[in-house]
Symmetry: C2
Protein backbone atom coordinates (compact mmCIF):
# COMPACT_ATOMS: atom_id res chain seq x y z
CA UNK A 1 0.00 0.00 0.00
CA UNK A 2 1.46 3.37 -1.06
CA UNK A 3 1.44 6.15 1.51
CA UNK A 4 2.30 9.83 1.53
CA UNK A 5 4.91 9.42 4.27
CA UNK A 6 8.63 9.42 4.90
CA UNK A 7 9.08 6.32 7.08
CA UNK A 8 6.48 4.68 9.35
CA UNK A 9 8.47 5.62 12.44
CA UNK A 10 8.04 9.37 11.91
CA UNK A 11 4.42 9.53 10.75
CA UNK A 12 3.05 10.96 14.01
CA UNK A 13 5.91 13.43 14.52
CA UNK A 14 5.71 14.56 10.88
CA UNK A 15 1.96 15.06 11.24
CA UNK A 16 2.48 17.17 14.35
CA UNK A 17 5.11 19.31 12.62
CA UNK A 18 2.63 19.87 9.79
CA UNK A 19 -0.15 20.72 12.23
CA UNK A 20 2.10 23.30 13.87
CA UNK A 21 3.07 24.80 10.51
CA UNK A 22 -0.57 25.19 9.43
CA UNK A 23 -2.06 26.40 12.71
CA UNK A 24 -0.12 29.09 14.58
CA UNK A 25 -3.05 29.20 17.05
CA UNK A 26 -1.82 25.88 18.44
CA UNK A 27 1.19 25.24 20.57
CA UNK A 28 2.54 21.90 19.36
CA UNK A 29 5.19 20.13 21.41
CA UNK A 30 6.41 17.59 18.87
CA UNK A 31 8.88 15.91 21.22
CA UNK A 32 6.39 15.36 24.01
CA UNK A 33 3.45 14.95 21.61
CA UNK A 34 1.10 17.46 23.12
CA UNK A 35 -1.13 19.88 21.20
CA UNK A 36 -2.23 22.85 23.34
CA UNK A 37 -4.24 25.95 22.51
CA UNK A 38 -1.80 28.80 22.49
CA UNK A 39 -3.57 30.90 25.14
CA UNK A 40 -3.69 28.06 27.70
CA UNK A 41 -4.12 28.05 30.61
CA UNK A 42 -7.12 30.37 30.31
CA UNK A 43 -7.73 32.11 33.63
CA UNK A 44 -10.63 30.61 35.56
CA UNK A 45 -11.47 28.10 32.84
CA UNK A 46 -11.72 24.32 33.25
CA UNK A 47 -9.18 22.59 31.00
CA UNK A 48 -10.36 19.85 28.65
CA UNK A 49 -7.84 17.19 27.66
CA UNK A 50 -8.36 14.23 25.39
CA UNK A 51 -6.19 11.97 23.32
CA UNK A 52 -5.79 8.52 21.96
CA UNK A 53 -4.07 6.67 19.18
CA UNK A 54 -3.29 8.62 16.02
CA UNK A 55 -4.98 7.74 12.73
CA UNK A 56 -8.38 9.27 13.58
CA UNK A 57 -7.62 12.84 12.48
CA UNK A 58 -8.96 15.48 12.85
CA UNK A 59 -9.79 13.80 16.21
CA UNK A 60 -8.24 14.86 18.68
CA UNK A 61 -5.49 17.35 17.74
CA UNK A 62 -7.76 19.00 15.18
CA UNK A 63 -10.32 19.72 17.90
CA UNK A 64 -8.02 21.83 20.06
CA UNK A 65 -8.97 25.48 20.32
CA UNK A 66 -11.43 27.93 21.88
CA UNK A 67 -14.78 26.25 22.48
CA UNK A 68 -13.50 22.68 22.38
CA UNK A 69 -10.36 20.98 23.75
CA UNK A 70 -7.53 22.75 25.56
CA UNK A 71 -5.08 19.97 24.79
CA UNK A 72 -4.76 16.68 22.94
CA UNK A 73 -2.29 13.85 23.40
CA UNK A 74 -1.72 11.78 20.25
CA UNK A 75 -0.26 8.31 20.64
CA UNK A 76 1.35 6.24 17.96
CA UNK A 77 -1.09 5.09 15.26
CA UNK A 78 -3.90 3.14 16.95
CA UNK A 79 -1.89 3.11 20.21
CA UNK A 80 -2.70 4.85 23.48
CA UNK A 81 -0.68 7.88 24.51
CA UNK A 82 1.23 7.49 27.77
CA UNK A 83 0.43 8.79 31.27
CA UNK A 84 3.36 11.24 31.42
CA UNK A 85 2.15 12.88 28.24
CA UNK A 86 -1.38 13.28 29.60
CA UNK A 87 -0.21 14.58 32.97
CA UNK A 88 2.00 17.11 31.21
CA UNK A 89 -0.99 18.23 29.13
CA UNK A 90 -3.09 18.59 32.28
CA UNK A 91 -0.43 20.77 33.88
CA UNK A 92 -0.19 22.90 30.73
CA UNK A 93 -3.91 23.73 30.65
CA UNK A 94 -4.79 23.90 34.35
CA UNK A 95 -5.63 27.43 35.45
CA UNK A 96 -6.54 26.23 38.93
CA UNK A 97 -10.12 25.45 37.88
CA UNK A 98 -9.33 21.79 37.28
CA UNK A 99 -9.09 19.53 34.26
CA UNK A 100 -11.47 17.10 32.59
CA UNK A 101 -10.03 14.03 30.85
CA UNK A 102 -12.26 12.83 28.00
CA UNK A 103 -11.42 9.17 27.43
CA UNK A 104 -12.60 6.94 24.60
CA UNK A 105 -13.32 3.51 26.04
CA UNK A 106 -10.31 1.45 25.00
CA UNK A 107 -8.50 -0.51 27.69
CA UNK A 108 -5.10 1.09 27.10
CA UNK A 109 -6.49 4.62 27.00
CA UNK A 110 -8.51 4.08 30.18
CA UNK A 111 -5.57 2.65 32.15
CA UNK A 112 -3.19 5.36 31.01
CA UNK A 113 -5.58 8.27 31.58
CA UNK A 114 -6.38 6.93 35.06
CA UNK A 115 -2.71 6.75 35.88
CA UNK A 116 -2.25 10.25 34.47
CA UNK A 117 -5.09 11.53 36.66
CA UNK A 118 -3.20 10.22 39.70
CA UNK A 119 0.05 11.78 38.53
CA UNK A 120 -1.66 15.11 37.90
CA UNK A 121 -3.41 14.90 41.28
CA UNK A 122 -0.01 14.43 42.95
CA UNK A 123 1.04 17.66 41.27
CA UNK A 124 -1.98 19.49 42.67
CA UNK A 125 -4.16 19.44 39.54
CA UNK A 126 -7.77 18.50 40.21
CA UNK A 127 -8.75 15.99 37.51
CA UNK A 128 -12.12 14.45 36.71
CA UNK A 129 -12.54 11.81 34.03
CA UNK A 130 -15.39 10.97 31.71
CA UNK A 131 -15.61 7.86 29.58
CA UNK A 132 -17.07 7.86 26.06
CA UNK A 133 -18.68 4.56 25.05
CA UNK A 134 -21.21 5.36 22.37
CA UNK A 135 -20.74 2.55 19.85
CA UNK A 136 -23.77 0.24 19.93
CA UNK A 137 -22.32 -2.33 17.54
CA UNK A 138 -20.65 -4.70 20.00
CA UNK A 139 -20.02 -5.18 23.70
CA UNK A 140 -16.38 -6.04 24.33
CA UNK A 141 -14.03 -5.88 21.40
CA UNK A 142 -10.45 -6.33 20.33
CA UNK A 143 -9.18 -3.36 22.32
CA UNK A 144 -11.79 -2.85 25.01
CA UNK A 145 -14.22 -4.17 27.58
CA UNK A 146 -17.71 -2.73 27.14
CA UNK A 147 -18.72 -0.46 24.32
CA UNK A 148 -16.18 1.40 22.23
CA UNK A 149 -15.87 5.18 22.09
CA UNK A 150 -16.22 6.52 18.56
CA UNK A 151 -18.16 9.38 16.91
CA UNK A 152 -19.88 10.45 20.13
CA UNK A 153 -16.51 11.79 21.24
CA UNK A 154 -16.95 14.75 18.91
CA UNK A 155 -20.22 15.70 20.60
CA UNK A 156 -18.74 15.29 24.09
CA UNK A 157 -15.72 17.44 23.22
CA UNK A 158 -17.80 20.15 21.51
CA UNK A 159 -20.58 20.47 24.08
CA UNK A 160 -18.44 20.15 27.20
CA UNK A 161 -15.93 22.45 25.50
CA UNK A 162 -18.58 25.10 24.99
CA UNK A 163 -19.66 24.87 28.63
CA UNK A 164 -16.05 25.21 29.82
CA UNK A 165 -15.50 28.19 27.52
CA UNK A 166 -18.49 29.90 29.17
CA UNK A 167 -16.88 29.43 32.56
CA UNK A 168 -18.83 26.46 33.94
CA UNK A 169 -17.08 24.82 36.91
CA UNK A 170 -15.49 21.36 36.70
CA UNK A 171 -18.40 19.39 38.13
CA UNK A 172 -20.80 21.06 35.71
CA UNK A 173 -18.52 20.51 32.68
CA UNK A 174 -18.10 16.85 33.68
CA UNK A 175 -21.87 16.45 34.14
CA UNK A 176 -22.48 17.82 30.67
CA UNK A 177 -19.86 15.50 29.19
CA UNK A 178 -21.55 12.52 30.86
CA UNK A 179 -25.00 13.69 29.77
CA UNK A 180 -23.79 13.95 26.18
CA UNK A 181 -22.22 10.50 26.27
CA UNK A 182 -25.36 8.96 27.76
CA UNK A 183 -27.40 10.53 24.98
CA UNK A 184 -25.09 9.59 22.08
CA UNK A 185 -25.00 6.38 20.06
CA UNK A 186 -22.95 5.37 17.02
CA UNK A 187 -22.81 2.63 14.43
CA UNK A 188 -20.09 2.19 11.78
CA UNK A 189 -19.77 0.38 8.48
CA UNK A 190 -16.59 -0.58 6.61
CA UNK A 191 -16.38 -1.04 2.85
CA UNK A 192 -12.63 -1.63 3.05
CA UNK A 193 -9.99 -2.28 5.67
CA UNK A 194 -7.49 0.37 6.74
CA UNK A 195 -3.73 0.10 6.42
CA UNK A 196 -1.43 1.24 9.21
CA UNK A 197 1.96 2.68 8.22
CA UNK A 198 3.78 0.14 10.42
CA UNK A 199 2.08 -2.88 8.88
CA UNK A 200 1.82 -1.59 5.32
CA UNK A 201 -0.94 -4.00 4.38
CA UNK A 202 -4.68 -3.95 5.21
CA UNK A 203 -5.38 -4.75 8.86
CA UNK A 204 -8.05 -7.28 7.93
CA UNK A 205 -9.52 -9.05 4.91
CA UNK A 206 -12.74 -7.73 3.46
CA UNK A 207 -13.46 -9.59 0.22
CA UNK A 208 -14.78 -7.82 -2.88
CA UNK A 209 -18.56 -7.65 -2.75
CA UNK A 210 -18.76 -7.67 1.06
CA UNK A 211 -19.03 -5.04 3.76
CA UNK A 212 -18.80 -5.20 7.52
CA UNK A 213 -21.56 -3.77 9.70
CA UNK A 214 -20.71 -2.48 13.16
CA UNK A 215 -17.01 -1.92 12.51
CA UNK A 216 -14.81 -0.09 15.01
CA UNK A 217 -12.41 2.73 14.19
CA UNK A 218 -9.33 0.49 14.26
CA UNK A 219 -10.66 -2.19 11.97
CA UNK A 220 -11.91 -4.24 14.93
CA UNK A 221 -14.54 -6.80 13.99
CA UNK A 222 -18.12 -5.62 13.86
CA UNK A 223 -21.46 -7.38 14.08
CA UNK A 224 -21.54 -9.16 10.76
CA UNK A 225 -20.28 -9.46 7.23
CA UNK A 226 -22.87 -9.03 4.52
CA UNK A 227 -23.03 -8.94 0.77
CA UNK A 228 -22.56 -5.35 -0.41
CA UNK A 229 -25.58 -3.12 0.31
CA UNK A 230 -26.89 0.12 -1.19
CA UNK A 231 -26.52 3.43 0.58
CA UNK A 232 -30.24 3.24 1.37
CA UNK A 233 -29.91 -0.19 2.96
CA UNK A 234 -26.82 0.81 4.94
CA UNK A 235 -28.61 3.92 6.22
CA UNK A 236 -31.58 1.82 7.35
CA UNK A 237 -29.27 -0.62 9.14
CA UNK A 238 -27.29 2.15 10.86
CA UNK A 239 -30.36 4.17 11.82
CA UNK A 240 -32.12 1.07 13.17
CA UNK A 241 -29.10 0.08 15.26
CA UNK A 242 -28.72 3.57 16.73
CA UNK A 243 -32.41 4.38 17.21
CA UNK A 244 -33.27 1.02 18.81
CA UNK A 245 -30.63 1.65 21.43
CA UNK A 246 -31.01 5.40 21.91
CA UNK A 247 -34.84 5.56 21.65
CA UNK A 248 -34.90 9.30 20.92
CA UNK A 249 -38.11 11.08 21.86
CA UNK A 250 -37.05 14.53 20.72
CA UNK A 251 -34.49 16.42 18.64
CA UNK A 252 -31.08 14.98 17.80
CA UNK A 253 -27.78 16.15 16.39
CA UNK A 254 -26.50 13.91 13.58
CA UNK A 255 -22.90 13.20 12.65
CA UNK A 256 -22.59 11.49 9.26
CA UNK A 257 -18.94 10.63 9.47
CA UNK A 258 -16.53 9.35 6.85
CA UNK A 259 -13.91 6.79 7.83
CA UNK A 260 -11.29 8.55 5.68
CA UNK A 261 -11.36 6.88 2.26
CA UNK A 262 -14.94 7.56 1.15
CA UNK A 263 -15.51 10.60 -1.10
CA UNK A 264 -17.54 13.50 0.28
CA UNK A 265 -19.98 13.12 -2.65
CA UNK A 266 -20.86 9.64 -1.35
CA UNK A 267 -21.09 10.84 2.26
CA UNK A 268 -23.63 13.48 1.25
CA UNK A 269 -25.62 10.88 -0.65
CA UNK A 270 -25.55 8.70 2.46
CA UNK A 271 -26.70 11.68 4.50
CA UNK A 272 -29.75 11.97 2.25
CA UNK A 273 -30.65 8.37 3.08
CA UNK A 274 -29.98 8.89 6.79
CA UNK A 275 -32.36 11.86 6.84
CA UNK A 276 -34.95 9.85 4.92
CA UNK A 277 -34.66 6.95 7.35
CA UNK A 278 -34.83 9.22 10.41
CA UNK A 279 -37.82 11.04 8.94
CA UNK A 280 -39.65 7.76 8.46
CA UNK A 281 -38.96 6.94 12.12
CA UNK A 282 -40.17 10.39 13.23
CA UNK A 283 -36.79 11.48 14.63
CA UNK A 284 -36.30 15.24 14.18
CA UNK A 285 -32.72 16.18 13.22
CA UNK A 286 -31.87 19.72 14.29
CA UNK A 287 -28.23 19.89 13.19
CA UNK A 288 -26.19 17.74 10.80
CA UNK A 289 -22.46 17.47 10.31
CA UNK A 290 -21.20 15.58 7.23
CA UNK A 291 -17.52 14.82 6.67
CA UNK A 292 -14.39 13.05 7.84
CA UNK A 293 -14.19 13.77 11.57
CA UNK A 294 -13.46 10.52 13.43
CA UNK A 295 -11.54 8.53 10.88
CA UNK A 296 -9.73 5.26 10.56
CA UNK A 297 -6.80 6.17 8.31
CA UNK A 298 -7.74 5.29 4.70
CA UNK A 299 -10.69 3.02 5.51
CA UNK A 300 -13.66 3.35 3.14
CA UNK A 301 -16.94 3.49 5.00
CA UNK A 302 -18.94 5.66 7.31
CA UNK A 303 -20.53 5.91 10.71
CA UNK A 304 -23.66 7.51 12.05
CA UNK A 305 -23.82 9.15 15.47
CA UNK A 306 -26.95 10.64 16.98
CA UNK A 307 -27.00 12.78 20.11
CA UNK A 308 -30.26 13.63 21.86
CA UNK A 309 -30.29 17.28 22.84
CA UNK A 310 -32.37 19.59 24.97
CA UNK A 311 -32.41 23.37 24.44
CA UNK A 312 -29.29 23.80 26.55
CA UNK A 313 -27.22 21.22 24.65
CA UNK A 314 -28.39 22.66 21.34
CA UNK A 315 -27.30 26.11 22.50
CA UNK A 316 -23.88 24.69 23.43
CA UNK A 317 -23.63 23.04 19.99
CA UNK A 318 -24.24 26.39 18.28
CA UNK A 319 -21.75 28.22 20.52
CA UNK A 320 -18.59 29.51 18.79
CA UNK A 321 -15.75 27.08 18.18
CA UNK A 322 -12.38 27.72 16.58
CA UNK A 323 -10.31 24.62 15.87
CA UNK A 324 -8.65 23.22 12.73
CA UNK A 325 -11.38 20.60 12.35
CA UNK A 326 -14.52 22.37 13.54
CA UNK A 327 -15.05 26.10 13.32
CA UNK A 328 -17.95 28.48 13.42
CA UNK A 329 -19.10 31.68 15.07
CA UNK A 330 -15.58 33.06 15.43
CA UNK B 1 -14.83 -1.22 -6.35
CA UNK B 2 -17.34 -0.86 -3.49
CA UNK B 3 -19.08 2.49 -3.12
CA UNK B 4 -21.44 4.05 -0.63
CA UNK B 5 -24.12 4.70 -3.26
CA UNK B 6 -27.50 3.51 -4.45
CA UNK B 7 -26.99 3.29 -8.21
CA UNK B 8 -24.48 5.25 -10.35
CA UNK B 9 -27.30 7.13 -12.08
CA UNK B 10 -28.44 8.90 -8.89
CA UNK B 11 -25.09 9.71 -7.28
CA UNK B 12 -25.21 13.44 -8.05
CA UNK B 13 -28.90 13.85 -7.17
CA UNK B 14 -28.45 11.87 -3.95
CA UNK B 15 -25.47 14.04 -3.03
CA UNK B 16 -27.51 17.20 -3.61
CA UNK B 17 -30.37 15.88 -1.47
CA UNK B 18 -27.86 15.20 1.29
CA UNK B 19 -26.31 18.65 0.91
CA UNK B 20 -29.75 20.20 1.26
CA UNK B 21 -30.54 18.11 4.33
CA UNK B 22 -27.32 19.11 6.08
CA UNK B 23 -27.26 22.80 5.17
CA UNK B 24 -30.52 24.72 5.50
CA UNK B 25 -28.54 27.87 4.59
CA UNK B 26 -28.45 26.61 1.01
CA UNK B 27 -31.25 26.51 -1.49
CA UNK B 28 -30.68 23.29 -3.42
CA UNK B 29 -32.66 22.71 -6.60
CA UNK B 30 -32.08 18.99 -7.07
CA UNK B 31 -34.00 18.74 -10.35
CA UNK B 32 -32.16 21.59 -12.02
CA UNK B 33 -28.91 20.91 -10.16
CA UNK B 34 -28.29 24.35 -8.80
CA UNK B 35 -26.99 25.19 -5.33
CA UNK B 36 -27.78 28.78 -4.31
CA UNK B 37 -27.21 30.68 -1.08
CA UNK B 38 -30.59 31.11 0.51
CA UNK B 39 -30.54 34.90 0.68
CA UNK B 40 -29.71 35.34 -3.04
CA UNK B 41 -29.96 37.65 -4.82
CA UNK B 42 -28.29 39.95 -2.31
CA UNK B 43 -29.21 43.56 -3.06
CA UNK B 44 -26.43 45.47 -4.82
CA UNK B 45 -24.02 42.51 -4.70
CA UNK B 46 -22.22 40.96 -7.67
CA UNK B 47 -23.21 37.30 -8.00
CA UNK B 48 -20.47 34.67 -8.22
CA UNK B 49 -21.30 31.45 -10.06
CA UNK B 50 -19.06 28.46 -10.64
CA UNK B 51 -19.55 24.82 -11.42
CA UNK B 52 -18.09 21.83 -13.15
CA UNK B 53 -18.19 18.08 -13.06
CA UNK B 54 -19.07 16.45 -9.74
CA UNK B 55 -16.52 14.33 -7.90
CA UNK B 56 -14.40 17.23 -6.61
CA UNK B 57 -16.38 17.98 -3.44
CA UNK B 58 -16.46 20.22 -1.48
CA UNK B 59 -15.70 22.16 -4.71
CA UNK B 60 -18.04 23.83 -5.87
CA UNK B 61 -21.34 23.26 -4.01
CA UNK B 62 -19.55 23.24 -0.66
CA UNK B 63 -18.18 26.72 -1.36
CA UNK B 64 -21.58 28.40 -1.71
CA UNK B 65 -22.41 30.91 0.98
CA UNK B 66 -21.66 34.40 2.28
CA UNK B 67 -18.12 35.43 1.37
CA UNK B 68 -17.65 32.94 -1.44
CA UNK B 69 -19.95 31.67 -4.24
CA UNK B 70 -23.57 32.69 -4.71
CA UNK B 71 -24.34 29.60 -6.75
CA UNK B 72 -22.78 26.39 -8.03
CA UNK B 73 -23.80 24.15 -10.92
CA UNK B 74 -22.71 20.52 -10.50
CA UNK B 75 -22.57 18.35 -13.61
CA UNK B 76 -22.48 14.58 -13.70
CA UNK B 77 -19.28 13.08 -12.28
CA UNK B 78 -16.34 14.54 -14.21
CA UNK B 79 -18.76 16.03 -16.79
CA UNK B 80 -19.51 19.69 -17.46
CA UNK B 81 -22.82 21.14 -16.34
CA UNK B 82 -25.01 22.49 -19.15
CA UNK B 83 -25.62 26.09 -20.29
CA UNK B 84 -29.28 26.19 -19.22
CA UNK B 85 -28.27 25.24 -15.70
CA UNK B 86 -25.64 27.99 -15.55
CA UNK B 87 -27.95 30.63 -17.05
CA UNK B 88 -30.62 29.69 -14.51
CA UNK B 89 -28.05 30.07 -11.70
CA UNK B 90 -27.05 33.48 -13.05
CA UNK B 91 -30.66 34.63 -13.05
CA UNK B 92 -31.14 33.33 -9.50
CA UNK B 93 -28.25 35.33 -8.06
CA UNK B 94 -28.33 38.53 -10.16
CA UNK B 95 -29.37 41.54 -8.11
CA UNK B 96 -28.78 43.84 -11.06
CA UNK B 97 -25.09 44.25 -10.18
CA UNK B 98 -24.06 41.54 -12.65
CA UNK B 99 -22.63 38.05 -12.39
CA UNK B 100 -19.13 36.60 -12.57
CA UNK B 101 -18.67 33.09 -13.98
CA UNK B 102 -15.59 31.36 -12.55
CA UNK B 103 -14.61 28.64 -15.05
CA UNK B 104 -12.01 25.94 -14.59
CA UNK B 105 -10.16 25.51 -17.87
CA UNK B 106 -11.68 22.35 -19.35
CA UNK B 107 -12.96 22.52 -22.89
CA UNK B 108 -16.51 21.43 -22.08
CA UNK B 109 -16.83 23.80 -19.14
CA UNK B 110 -15.50 26.74 -21.16
CA UNK B 111 -17.86 26.15 -24.10
CA UNK B 112 -20.89 25.69 -21.88
CA UNK B 113 -20.19 28.66 -19.63
CA UNK B 114 -19.63 30.87 -22.70
CA UNK B 115 -22.95 29.76 -24.13
CA UNK B 116 -24.58 30.36 -20.74
CA UNK B 117 -23.13 33.87 -20.64
CA UNK B 118 -24.84 34.59 -23.96
CA UNK B 119 -28.12 33.12 -22.76
CA UNK B 120 -27.96 35.15 -19.55
CA UNK B 121 -27.05 38.28 -21.54
CA UNK B 122 -30.15 37.76 -23.67
CA UNK B 123 -32.15 37.78 -20.45
CA UNK B 124 -30.60 41.04 -19.36
CA UNK B 125 -28.02 39.71 -16.92
CA UNK B 126 -24.58 41.27 -17.27
CA UNK B 127 -22.05 38.43 -17.16
CA UNK B 128 -18.27 38.51 -17.04
CA UNK B 129 -16.17 35.34 -17.15
CA UNK B 130 -12.83 34.45 -15.65
CA UNK B 131 -10.81 31.36 -16.49
CA UNK B 132 -8.80 29.43 -13.91
CA UNK B 133 -5.75 27.67 -15.33
CA UNK B 134 -3.32 27.24 -12.46
CA UNK B 135 -1.95 23.71 -12.99
CA UNK B 136 1.69 23.90 -14.08
CA UNK B 137 2.05 20.18 -14.73
CA UNK B 138 1.11 20.01 -18.41
CA UNK B 139 -0.01 22.19 -21.30
CA UNK B 140 -2.95 20.62 -23.11
CA UNK B 141 -4.45 17.51 -21.58
CA UNK B 142 -7.17 14.91 -21.97
CA UNK B 143 -10.00 17.38 -21.38
CA UNK B 144 -8.51 20.76 -22.18
CA UNK B 145 -6.34 23.02 -24.27
CA UNK B 146 -3.85 24.99 -22.21
CA UNK B 147 -3.34 24.54 -18.52
CA UNK B 148 -5.95 22.86 -16.35
CA UNK B 149 -7.84 24.59 -13.56
CA UNK B 150 -7.38 22.87 -10.19
CA UNK B 151 -6.60 24.01 -6.63
CA UNK B 152 -6.23 27.67 -7.57
CA UNK B 153 -10.00 27.72 -8.04
CA UNK B 154 -10.42 27.75 -4.26
CA UNK B 155 -8.34 30.91 -3.97
CA UNK B 156 -10.19 32.61 -6.85
CA UNK B 157 -13.59 31.78 -5.34
CA UNK B 158 -12.60 32.84 -1.82
CA UNK B 159 -10.85 36.11 -2.67
CA UNK B 160 -13.24 37.29 -5.38
CA UNK B 161 -16.09 36.16 -3.12
CA UNK B 162 -14.82 38.33 -0.28
CA UNK B 163 -14.55 41.34 -2.59
CA UNK B 164 -18.10 40.82 -3.88
CA UNK B 165 -19.39 40.46 -0.32
CA UNK B 166 -17.88 43.85 0.49
CA UNK B 167 -19.80 45.40 -2.39
CA UNK B 168 -17.08 45.71 -5.05
CA UNK B 169 -18.52 46.25 -8.56
CA UNK B 170 -18.35 43.59 -11.27
CA UNK B 171 -15.24 44.88 -13.02
CA UNK B 172 -13.35 45.03 -9.73
CA UNK B 173 -14.47 41.53 -8.66
CA UNK B 174 -13.45 40.17 -12.07
CA UNK B 175 -10.09 41.94 -11.86
CA UNK B 176 -9.41 40.39 -8.47
CA UNK B 177 -10.37 36.94 -9.76
CA UNK B 178 -7.94 37.34 -12.68
CA UNK B 179 -5.21 38.67 -10.38
CA UNK B 180 -5.63 35.64 -8.11
CA UNK B 181 -5.51 33.22 -11.03
CA UNK B 182 -2.40 34.88 -12.46
CA UNK B 183 -0.72 34.56 -9.08
CA UNK B 184 -1.72 30.93 -8.38
CA UNK B 185 0.06 27.74 -9.43
CA UNK B 186 -0.68 24.09 -8.62
CA UNK B 187 0.95 20.69 -8.97
CA UNK B 188 -0.67 17.35 -8.14
CA UNK B 189 0.52 13.84 -7.40
CA UNK B 190 -1.43 10.59 -7.56
CA UNK B 191 -0.62 7.50 -5.50
CA UNK B 192 -3.68 5.69 -6.83
CA UNK B 193 -6.26 6.12 -9.57
CA UNK B 194 -9.83 7.19 -8.86
CA UNK B 195 -12.93 5.16 -9.64
CA UNK B 196 -16.02 6.80 -11.11
CA UNK B 197 -19.40 5.33 -10.13
CA UNK B 198 -20.35 4.83 -13.78
CA UNK B 199 -17.21 2.86 -14.63
CA UNK B 200 -16.81 1.05 -11.34
CA UNK B 201 -13.14 0.30 -11.89
CA UNK B 202 -10.07 2.58 -11.61
CA UNK B 203 -9.87 5.14 -14.41
CA UNK B 204 -6.23 4.30 -15.11
CA UNK B 205 -3.56 1.82 -14.12
CA UNK B 206 -1.00 2.85 -11.55
CA UNK B 207 1.13 -0.15 -10.65
CA UNK B 208 2.16 -0.93 -7.07
CA UNK B 209 5.35 0.90 -6.25
CA UNK B 210 4.75 3.77 -8.68
CA UNK B 211 3.25 7.24 -8.45
CA UNK B 212 2.34 9.80 -11.07
CA UNK B 213 3.66 13.35 -10.86
CA UNK B 214 1.62 16.19 -12.32
CA UNK B 215 -1.71 14.39 -12.29
CA UNK B 216 -4.99 16.21 -13.03
CA UNK B 217 -8.14 16.03 -10.94
CA UNK B 218 -9.85 13.55 -13.27
CA UNK B 219 -7.03 11.07 -13.47
CA UNK B 220 -5.65 12.72 -16.62
CA UNK B 221 -2.04 11.85 -17.33
CA UNK B 222 0.61 13.93 -15.64
CA UNK B 223 4.24 14.62 -16.34
CA UNK B 224 5.79 11.30 -15.48
CA UNK B 225 5.56 8.01 -13.67
CA UNK B 226 8.20 7.39 -11.07
CA UNK B 227 9.10 4.76 -8.53
CA UNK B 228 7.36 5.56 -5.23
CA UNK B 229 8.87 8.57 -3.44
CA UNK B 230 8.92 9.74 0.17
CA UNK B 231 6.76 12.61 1.37
CA UNK B 232 9.92 14.71 1.50
CA UNK B 233 10.82 13.94 -2.10
CA UNK B 234 7.26 14.56 -3.31
CA UNK B 235 7.19 17.91 -1.49
CA UNK B 236 10.46 18.94 -3.13
CA UNK B 237 9.14 17.97 -6.56
CA UNK B 238 5.83 19.81 -6.07
CA UNK B 239 7.44 22.90 -4.56
CA UNK B 240 10.05 23.04 -7.34
CA UNK B 241 7.40 22.74 -10.05
CA UNK B 242 5.24 25.47 -8.54
CA UNK B 243 7.99 27.84 -7.48
CA UNK B 244 9.89 27.64 -10.80
CA UNK B 245 6.74 28.73 -12.59
CA UNK B 246 5.34 31.22 -10.08
CA UNK B 247 8.64 32.78 -8.99
CA UNK B 248 7.22 34.23 -5.78
CA UNK B 249 9.04 37.25 -4.40
CA UNK B 250 6.84 37.76 -1.36
CA UNK B 251 4.23 36.12 0.84
CA UNK B 252 2.07 33.24 -0.40
CA UNK B 253 -1.05 31.38 0.68
CA UNK B 254 -0.59 27.60 0.59
CA UNK B 255 -3.23 24.97 -0.07
CA UNK B 256 -2.04 21.46 0.81
CA UNK B 257 -4.89 19.56 -0.73
CA UNK B 258 -5.89 15.93 -0.46
CA UNK B 259 -7.26 14.17 -3.53
CA UNK B 260 -9.87 12.35 -1.40
CA UNK B 261 -8.35 9.02 -0.38
CA UNK B 262 -5.29 10.13 1.58
CA UNK B 263 -5.64 10.32 5.39
CA UNK B 264 -5.43 13.73 7.04
CA UNK B 265 -2.52 12.45 9.17
CA UNK B 266 -0.49 11.96 5.97
CA UNK B 267 -1.58 15.34 4.55
CA UNK B 268 -0.31 17.09 7.68
CA UNK B 269 2.97 15.21 7.42
CA UNK B 270 3.21 16.31 3.80
CA UNK B 271 2.48 19.89 4.90
CA UNK B 272 5.50 19.72 7.20
CA UNK B 273 7.69 18.83 4.22
CA UNK B 274 6.09 21.53 2.06
CA UNK B 275 6.87 24.14 4.71
CA UNK B 276 10.40 22.83 5.02
CA UNK B 277 10.90 22.97 1.26
CA UNK B 278 9.43 26.47 0.97
CA UNK B 279 11.53 27.66 3.89
CA UNK B 280 14.68 26.39 2.18
CA UNK B 281 13.65 28.34 -0.93
CA UNK B 282 12.97 31.49 1.14
CA UNK B 283 9.25 31.60 0.30
CA UNK B 284 7.27 33.02 3.24
CA UNK B 285 3.93 31.23 3.79
CA UNK B 286 1.42 33.51 5.52
CA UNK B 287 -1.61 31.19 5.59
CA UNK B 288 -1.96 27.43 5.14
CA UNK B 289 -5.00 25.29 4.47
CA UNK B 290 -4.62 21.50 4.83
CA UNK B 291 -7.38 19.08 3.87
CA UNK B 292 -9.58 17.64 1.14
CA UNK B 293 -10.85 20.67 -0.79
CA UNK B 294 -10.47 20.00 -4.53
CA UNK B 295 -10.74 16.25 -4.75
CA UNK B 296 -10.82 13.52 -7.32
CA UNK B 297 -13.29 11.07 -5.79
CA UNK B 298 -11.33 8.39 -3.90
CA UNK B 299 -7.93 9.08 -5.45
CA UNK B 300 -4.98 8.82 -3.06
CA UNK B 301 -2.58 11.69 -3.47
CA UNK B 302 -2.26 15.40 -2.96
CA UNK B 303 -1.69 18.70 -4.64
CA UNK B 304 0.06 21.89 -3.68
CA UNK B 305 -1.25 25.32 -4.68
CA UNK B 306 0.52 28.56 -3.89
CA UNK B 307 -1.02 31.99 -4.35
CA UNK B 308 1.08 35.16 -4.19
CA UNK B 309 -0.70 37.79 -2.14
CA UNK B 310 -0.35 41.46 -1.38
CA UNK B 311 -1.86 43.07 1.73
CA UNK B 312 -5.22 43.48 0.02
CA UNK B 313 -5.50 39.83 -1.08
CA UNK B 314 -4.41 38.68 2.37
CA UNK B 315 -7.11 40.84 3.92
CA UNK B 316 -9.68 39.29 1.55
CA UNK B 317 -8.46 35.80 2.52
CA UNK B 318 -9.02 36.58 6.20
CA UNK B 319 -12.47 38.07 5.56
CA UNK B 320 -15.44 36.11 6.95
CA UNK B 321 -16.72 33.13 4.97
CA UNK B 322 -19.61 30.83 5.77
CA UNK B 323 -19.92 27.79 3.53
CA UNK B 324 -20.09 24.03 4.19
CA UNK B 325 -16.47 23.57 3.10
CA UNK B 326 -14.76 26.74 4.30
CA UNK B 327 -15.89 28.76 7.27
CA UNK B 328 -14.43 31.36 9.56
CA UNK B 329 -15.17 34.72 11.06
CA UNK B 330 -18.93 34.20 11.09
Amino acid sequence: MKMLINVPETVVADGLRGLAAAHPDLNVDVDNRIVVRRDAPVAGKVGLVSGGGSGHEPLHGGFVGPGMLDAACPGEVFTSPVPDQMARAAAAVDSGAGVLFIIKNYTGDVLNFEMAAELAGDEGVQVTTVLVNDDVAVTDSLYTAGRRGTGGTLFVEKLAGAAAEEGAPLDRVAAIARQVNENSRSFGVALSACTTPAKGTPTFDLPPGELELGIGIHGEPGRERRAMMTSREIADAAVDAVVEDLRPDGPVLALVNGMGGTPLLELYGFNAEVHRALGERRVPVVRTLVGNYVTSLDMAGCSLTLCRVDDELLRLWDAPVRTPGLRWGC
